[in-house]
């Protein structure tokens, strides 16, 4: 199916007007607000950002069945994706996840949930899992890719291994959503839970697209490079 997707002539402001979730994405490229009527192309050339990478990410975040063809994929700078992913990891670990968790701890306190401490320890366990997950990418996967780009990919590691080991850190968030929506005591009224839930939904959505970017784009690109090198 052909549909309208963002292009280099789309006005920067329209990205956000169409999909407000991109408010989280643009800072990872170092883009702030105040675009006036500038187009994607203009802003990218001012900030020295790859137009194709920005468009790719925005399209993936906005259109559920968007999938780039291989010629489009070839234009994506791999270093650029890695920087983008590193920036998002930092934001997830330092700001967004603590926010989600703080909200839940606060909910437990405000509603005086019986056995609420088990929710707290669930969150803590999730935090540790996520830290380990990102750490593996930062310390093993990204350095391998950088080596490969530099022409020294002889460590024996292959991107397939990453594909196999790419653990799912969305499941715990989904569990939290279900527990909060279905199984909290009635004292936890909807107005007390709403912000917690909305934040959870947003974070889960972003993580899901983030994983998609790693699984579908980064891995296929690196596989192409691995093949070229052989």
């Amino acid at each position: 199916m052909k549909y309208v997707i963002f292009s280099e002539n789309t006005r920067m402001a329209d990205l956000i007007l169409v999909n407000s979730r991109l408010l989280y994405v643009l800072p990872y490229f170092g883009i702030g607000l105040g675009f006036g009527e500038k187009t994607v192309k203009q802003v990218c050339s001012e900030k020295k950002i790859s137009v194709s990478l920005l468009l790719l990410v925005c399209n993936i975040y906005t259109f559920d069945d968007y999938s780039p063809d291989s010629s489009c994929l070839r234009q994506i700078p791999v270093e650029g994706i890695i920087v983008y992913l590193q920036n998002s990891h930092k934001d997830y670990l330092e700001i967004r996840m603590p926010q989600v968790i703080d909200n839940i701890l606060n909910l437990v306190k405000v509603c005086r949930i019986k056995n609420g401490n088990i929710l707290n320890s669930f969150c803590e366990k999730y935090r540790q899992e996520a830290i380990a997950h990102f750490k593996y990418e930062e310390e093993t996967v990204f350095p391998y890719i950088m080596q490969l780009l530099g022409g020294t990919g002889g460590s024996g590691y292959k991107i397939r291994e990453y594909e196999r080991n790419h653990s799912d850190i969305d499941a715990a968030l989904e569990d939290l959503k279900n527990i909060i929506i279905k199984y909290l005591p009635e004292e936890c009224t909807i107005d007390k839970c709403r912000d917690v839930l909305l934040e959870l939904f947003m974070f889960e959505y972003d993580l899901c697209k983030h994983t998609l970017l790693e699984d579908k784009i980064l891995i296929s690109l690196v596989e192409l490079i691995e093949k070229d090198g052989q």
Partner: protein, 201 residues
């Protein structure tokens, strides 16, 4: 490449000719593997099938029912099984309604695998739609409690005298009904619903 479904199938039918015939036609399709055949229910019950069973073709005329009877309860050990009646004589409609579908013995043998696949798929669809709002069954609650206590599938199977496959299919159903996938999430569910107390964990 098309993936073969590899439905593991058990046939319970007293006539050896019909048993063999169904097996022959079914296994012409790569989607089916007939893992065992039994002449009647008694034999089936006395020799538990080790493998996971997804489809049971069962001739309801091979047992005598003197009153309307829930045939499905005979297959308790296989909660997710697709139950299909082999039919060549009169069976009352009340008995038949517990089956997922009916296989007419006078059908053309070459279409048999297709027929069975259709029945399996529509049964799965029905399960997905209806199971959503149903509470956990007593059995599922027991399994959930064991999961929350940190037992492995093998330990749970041994404790409840069921196969590991059955444990896994119970766990799939628990996840489908609650929406909760992780063990720690299920533990929270169990505590919040007073199935276990936090002290015993």
């Amino acid at each position: 490449m098309k993936q073969h479904k590899n439905y593991r199938t058990v046939i319970i039918e007293p006539s050896p000719v019909i048993q063999e015939g169904i097996k022959l036609f079914l296994e012409k399709s790569p989607d089916f593997r007939v893992t065992a055949c039994f002449a009647d229910l008694q034999l089936f019950k006395s020799k538990p099938v080790k493998d996971d069973v997804q489809v049971v073709l069962f001739n309801p005329a091979s047992v005598k029912f003197y009153r309307p009877f829930n045939v499905r309860s005979l297959f308790d050990a296989y909660p997710d099984v697709c139950l299909i009646a082999i039919l060549y004589q009169y069976v009352d409609s009340e008995t038949l309604q517990h089956f997922d579908g009916v296989l007419d013995i006078y059908d053309d043998g070459s279409v048999l695998p297709q027929r069975v696949i259709k029945i399996i798929e529509s049964a799965q669809k029905r399960n997905d739609l209806t199971a959503d709002n149903i509470d956990l069954s007593e059995r599922e609650k027991e399994i959930l409690i064991s999961v929350a206590r940190g037992m492995t599938n093998k330990e749970i199977a041994d404790q409840h005298f069921i196969s590991v496959h059955t444990v896994i299919s119970h766990r799939k159903n628990i996840t489908r009904k609650t929406g909760i996938k992780t063990v720690s999430g299920l533990t929270i569910y169990a505590i919040f619903n007073n199935l276990v107390s936090q002290d015993e964990l």
